[in-house]
């Protein structure tokens, strides 16, 4: 499967990665090799095989709806790059 530079840039944009032209050139062939490897699976005949939703042999791991204490606000905000005494602070979401 061939990747154009635009494909790589679009993928990078969707993942919010900033790539230099050099990186685009390096990543293209790498991604092609990865996809080529996975594509080997296409050789298998999957006619009549149910799609698999998980590799685990378990279902229905759920828990009762009972509130448990979480983190204190101090703990929650402790590792934030920027916070005031109540909230996380991020660059403005809407331009003013």
């Amino acid at each position: 499967m061939a990747f154009s530079d635009d494909d790589i840039r679009k993928l990078a944009y969707l993942a919010r990665l900033e790539l230099t032209d050099q990186e685009v050139q390096t990543l293209g062939p790498q991604l092609e090799r990865i996809l080529g490897f996975v594509e080997q699976l296409a050789e298998l005949d999957t006619e009549g095989v149910e799609p698999m939703t998980t590799a685990l042999d378990v279902n229905n791991r759920w828990i009762a709806d009972v509130v448990q204490p979480g983190l204190s606000r101090e703990q929650a905000l402790a590792n934030a790059p920027l916070a005031d005494d109540e909230c996380f602070l991020v660059p403005p979401v809407l331009p003013s």
């Binding site: 998980t54 759920w62 606000r73």
Partner: protein, 497 residues
């Protein structure tokens, strides 16, 4: 005929509306962690490593959220597939710390269904609105762009992040703003009736997005205008107004630009409640590339038939069925049944309790619609906090039915109960209303007939309504006298003369 223009020189067109409703489910804890879902708490006090998206934290499903979704799906006539699974929807927004939302892509918990809604154009008739699906997903946090943050930052509160949402997606089968409103009203009634959601638009526990476009008939062809998704509507009225506004705006845009669904892709508009206008939020929708894939942190959900059937059993009677039953069991008119049922489950219980106690459902219905609902409106109260209990109202109306109180006296008692509380007996005693015993009534009638021989003559002459003249006189002599009983006794006495 299809391309005949109207008086304004416009081609005939139909507004086509599909609604996406996000309802917060009424769980105590979040969808994938055990943090509280309580609304209105101080920012970032209901968070943990899972909903903060900290590395290594693992989500665990909330069983009750699954149950509520199944119940809702059944009430919406949806198929509940035996397997459902979780997918990651990737997008970047500061109120979504993981960088993806856990949602459902190709195997939603509720598959196709429908909702019957009262037809706003034809009283007593219903319209069936198809549903594509209803799926579970986690809510995002809240971004605040207020003074406290200044212009340099937005503030993020993640308390809401991870709260369970059920997204109910209708087919584009509503053709007027009034139908959209009727759909929302019926859906809200159903969700509150089932107790699965509070549906408080002001608190964000019910959110509505409307997909709107027009089908214009021109020269025998149908032209579809570009689809617009309207967001940020904070009331049903706003939804109705936004759709009306969009229909006009889209017709104008089509006339001005000739844009159609083929030439312009879907756009996102906001709604400004103050100016009552829609405005562009996203001009060209990036062909949404959310790169869904199954969430490897969660296992699929298998729902055995027995579990689904148990939920169906536990669901009880739905509002549409209650409307029908009120007409057969209590012989209410369709309109009256509608008014009471639309007030919600608390009013349904109130009515049934009062009607049973009074043994007079029609009178109870009319008192509830007039006296009770008017009072609730004046006091801005809910029926749950109403000072006159259903049993008390039923007892009072039972007195009216038995002829021991007339309607006006009953209103006095009702007012007294509203202000002072207590029982019907206490209220009547406090108001000096006393039952008039038979001998008293007898004596009063003899007196009246002796004083008014002309009335006796008129009645004997074939005009029983003539006794009406004596009722006012009787009231002057004894204000507690019951007009119904008085009339009967007078006529009986005259007949026996």
């Amino acid at each position: 005929m299809s391309d005949r223009r109207d008086a304004d020189g416009r081609y005939p067109f139909k507004t086509v509306i599909g609604l996406e409703v996000h309802a917060q489910l009424r769980t105590a804890s979040k969808l994938f962690c055990r943090c509280s879902t309580q609304f209105g708490s101080a920012p970032n006090t209901q968070v943990c490593p899972v909903c903060l998206g900290l590395p290594g934290a693992l989500p665990v499903m909330n069983e009750h959220a699954i149950e509520l979704a199944i119940t809702t799906g059944l009430a919406l006539n949806c198929d509940i597939p035996s397997v459902t699974k979780w997918d990651r929807k990737q997008y970047f927004y500061p109120d979504l710390p993981k960088g993806y939302q856990i949602s459902q892509f190709d195997m939603p918990i509720c598959a196709e269904g429908y909702l019957d809604i009262p037809d706003p154009a034809d009283e007593g008739e219903t319209r069936r609105i198809g549903l594509f699906r209803a799926h579970l997903e986690e809510d995002a946090g809240k971004s605040m762009h207020d003074e406290a943050a200044g212009r340099d930052h937005s503030r993020i509160d993640l308390n809401r992040c991870g709260t369970p949402l059920l997204e109910i997606v209708s087919k584009p089968e509503m053709f007027s703003a009034a139908e959209a409103r009727s759909y929302l009203t019926e859906l809200k009634l159903l969700l509150t009736h089932l107790g699965v959601s509070d549906c408080e638009m002001q608190e964000g526990s019910l959110r509505v997005d409307a997909n709107v476009n027009l089908h214009i008939e021109k020269d025998g062809k149908r032209i579809a205008t570009p689809i617009v998704e309207v967001k940020n509507m904070n009331s049903f009225r706003a939804v109705e107004r936004a759709i009306q506004y969009e229909a006009e705006r889209q017709y104008q845009e089509w006339e001005d630009t000739g844009n159609t669904i083929e030439t312009v892709s879907k756009r996102t508009f906001g709604w400004n409640d103050a100016t009552e206008e829609t405005f562009v939020q996203r001009e060209k929708e990036e062909s949404a590339d959310y790169r869904y894939f199954p969430d490897p942190d969660l296992v699929p959900v298998h729902l055995p038939k027995e579990r689904i059937e148990a939920a169906r059993e536990a669901m009880g009677e739905l509002p549409a069925a209650t409307r029908e039953r009120f007409q057969t069991q209590y012989e209410l008119k369709a309109y009256d049944a509608d008014v009471i049922v639309n007030q919600g489950p608390a009013m349904v219980t109130y009515f049934e309790t009062a009607a049973t106690a009074s043994k007079d459902p029609k009178r109870t219905s009319s008192w509830i619609q007039q006296d009770v609902m008017r009072t609730l409106k004046e006091r801005q109260e809910e029926i749950g906090a109403f000072p006159v209990s259903a049993e008390t109202l039923g007892q009072l109306l039972g007195e009216v039915r038995a002829g021991r109180l007339d309607n006006n006296r009953a209103r006095d008692v009702f007012q007294h109960l509203l202000t002072h509380g207590g029982s019907v007996e206490q209220a009547t005693a406090a108001l000096g209303i006393e039952a008039v015993d038979d001998s008293e009534l007898d004596a009063l009638c003899d007196e009246l007939l002796a004083e008014n021989p002309q009335v006796v003559q008129h009645v004997q002459g074939g005009k029983p309504q003539a006794v009406g003249a004596l009722i006012g006189k009787a009231k002057q002599k004894n204000p507690n006298i019951n007009p119904g009983q008085l009339r009967e006794t007078l006529l009986a006495k005259i007949a026996a003369m």
